[in-house]
């Protein structure tokens, strides 16, 4: 069924590929590195031969379905699985009571239940699992599970969440992490400022929307180990979290990354792996679980909505002298990697510039929204929305070209970042700005925008 590798690569050895773009550094004498060779998975992908977990099938395989909360914040009063369990073709119906290990996971902060126990904290929260002989029966059985909820007031943004009388998403409180950056003395810094720009920026939620949704398939192998093929970003982290919930040793769990159709951070947290493990262990049969697009939107992690208040000062000569910021990240119902995203946003809020005086506070906050965790850019995207706007506003008031103003303040050898870190080499910000400047200066259609650029 699958072609041998030798066939796959027939006649494709040392394909020099196409070479586009230009390179600022002279070519060294490499034979392979630095060449645009054909990607090793290109042929399989374009010929439709790549095997994704959804393409994998085993004899006697079951199809899984997750019942999700559907309410954003509620106490679970009762779960009645009797009707679902009685349906023909249903192999198992699982709730938190059926978890063999400890019902707790999360990459950095273990605050998440594999299946909800007493409470649900967002609409996509998993409450029960069904494995059945086909997808239709699994879906119908999941619908037949009756859950009685007592709804609770919801927290919909970080400011609400930090309020004194806010409903508590988690018992320990809604603040997940407060991170600080303190460099120099901002008050002194702002005293040197000739212009000060202060603004609040609000970013929205983005979905990873990869071409392949979260999916996987699992079974017990011939040695009695659990094997799961899934679309993931780190089989080892998944294994660590699975072991706790499934009550297995890590060396009994084999996680394999199946061909994966994009992740962008959205498959960094556990997606389907624990649920597949639970169903495989309960039924001792292979189980496949594939989320459809709507379920992916409803239940999987997103990019943080972040609100950033920030104030920047520059001297008459156009040198940045101080910046201050407060960052509020809506991490949603569970931490995932959210606290680190918000922290990274705060650390990068000062941009790739040398600023002697910096003060930033970042707050990652629980709400009843869908979890926000890793997504390509990891908080730095949001920070760059703020610092690039601030730089343009300052440049305008100082009557300096925005690109020139960035060059004047860009980090360089021996100049420290907001965390006081200095590099002696490998600092490329000026090189990239100079490249853009060169492009503009050569192109009259761009130069017309920035006649002042010299």
């Amino acid at each position: 069924m699958f072609p041998l590798r030798s066939e796959r690569f027939q006649g494709k050895f040392n394909n020099p590929g196409i070479q586009r773009g230009d390179h600022s550094v002279e070519k060294e004498e490499f034979t392979c590195v630095g060449h645009s060779v054909l990607k090793v998975d290109a042929l399989d992908k374009v010929l439709g031969r790549a095997v994704y977990s959804e393409d994998m099938t085993f004899p006697n395989m079951l199809h899984g379905k997750v019942l999700r909360a559907g309410v954003p914040h509620a106490i679970i009063e009762n779960i009645d699985i009797s009707a679902a369990k009685a349906m023909k073709g249903v192999a198992c119906v699982l709730t938190a009571k059926d978890i063999p290990g400890e019902n707790l996971f999360g990459i950095a902060f273990q605050d998440q239940w594999a299946l909800a126990e007493e409470k649900v904290r967002y609409i996509g929260e998993p409450v029960a699992l069904v494995a059945a002989k086909n997808e239709e029966i699994a879906r119908d059985a999941a619908k037949a599970i009756k859950v009685t909820y007592k709804e609770l007031p919801v927290v919909t943004n970080p400011h609400e969440g930090l309020g004194e009388n806010a409903p508590k998403v988690h018992e320990k409180g809604n603040l997940i992490l407060h991170s600080k950056t303190r460099k120099g003395d901002v008050e002194e810094g702002f005293r040197q400022a000739h212009v000060i720009v202060e603004n609040t920026y609000k970013t929205h939620v983005q979905d990873h929307a990869y071409i392949e949704t979260e999916s996987g398939v699992g079974k017990v192998d011939e040695h009695g180990n659990l094997v799961v093929w899934s679309a993931n970003q780190c089989p080892f982290r998944d294994r660590r979290q699975m072991a706790v919930v499934l009550g297995l040793r890590e060396n009994q769990i084999r996680v394999i990354r199946a061909t994966t159709g994009g992740a962008f951070g959205g498959k960094d947290d556990v997606t389907v792996e624990i649920h597949i493990g639970l169903m495989v262990l309960a039924t001792e049969r292979p189980v496949r679980l594939v989320l459809d697009r709507e379920e992916s939107f409803l239940s999987q992690t997103k990019r943080h909505a972040i609100e950033m208040w920030t104030r920047w000062g520059a001297t008459r000569e156009g040198k940045l002298c101080a910046m201050e910021g407060k960052v509020y990240g809506d991490t949603g119902a569970y931490a995932g990697l959210g606290p680190f995203v918000v922290k990274k946003c705060g650390i990068h809020l000062s941009g790739p510039y040398y600023i002697p005086h910096v003060k930033v506070d970042s707050y990652s906050v629980y709400t009843n929204n869908i979890m926000a965790s890793a997504m390509r850019g990891f908080g730095v995207l949001q920070s760059s929305v703020a610092h690039n706007a601030q730089m343009d506003e300052l440049a305008r008031r100082l009557n300096i070209n925005p690109l020139q103003f960035r060059l004047m303040n860009a980090l360089d050898r021996g100049l420290s970042t907001a965390t006081g870190q200095e590099f002696q080499a490998g600092i490329g910000i000026k090189a990239t700005l100079e490249k853009l400047k060169e492009v503009v200066m050569k192109d009259p259609s761009l130069q017309k925008y920035w006649k002042e650029l010299r």
Binding site: E136, I137, R139, D140
Partner: protein, 286 residues
Amino acid sequence: MQNYQFHGPRTVGEALNILSERGDGCRIIAGGTDLIPALRNEDILPDSVLNILEIDELTGISEEGDTIRIGPTTTFTEIIQSQVIKRSLPLLVEAASSVGGPTIRNRGTIGGNICNGSPAADVLPAVVALDGELELQSKALGTRIIPAAEAVEAPYQTRFNRDELLTGILIKKLPSETRYAFEKLASRNAMARAYMNISIVLKLDEKGAFSDLRIVPGTLEAVARRMSAAEKILMGRQPEDSLVEEAADAFVGDLAGVWIPDYKLPVARSVFKRVLKRALNGSGVE
């Protein structure tokens, strides 16, 4: 799981028999670009589905004197590629080209676009602006013809009887020198749900005054219809700037039940003027 009976007749006669027997619980499927998602999401729960794609009489484009007949299962792609349509009803080509993306256009049909009754249909407003007519057949009433403008009663609800089948879309070839324009506004260039679309068909007399005019917006209101207030202001007069402004006010004033009105109303005014100007500046049908 949905259980329904599936019918696959080969002739209109067979289809009409099935419709007359099954009536209410039967849904007709052609390209399926609207019906399949609705079935999957269980938005509709029919007890039978009637596939009309296998009925040869229902597809294709033909000229019958000065009328063009389009079979309801003709796809958007077939309309776009048809030399007859390109020559005589170029507005329809523009409207059909704005539908979804290539995959949807290869699959979706003009009949489906009309019968689905979506307020966001791209082609139905153009058919109304072209003064199109619909041929309906049933065992009970035989054949009847109604104006396309009367097809839809309310969103996703047609005025057809439950046992009636749309068997043809009939549009008169545009007289020479008829001018037209179509514009769809959406947040991206393909596969987008539109904010609005506007179809305009017009003719000027030898003095340069409007002698014929049909203005039909889509997506703005629940049901596509001609904007008679704006048409009335323009008819018989020459398209001077002040008159166009007056008509634009009437166009917007006439709109009712618009979603996100804060955005759509001021924008609709601009788009209306733009489409009207484009139509006036166009060279028209040969």
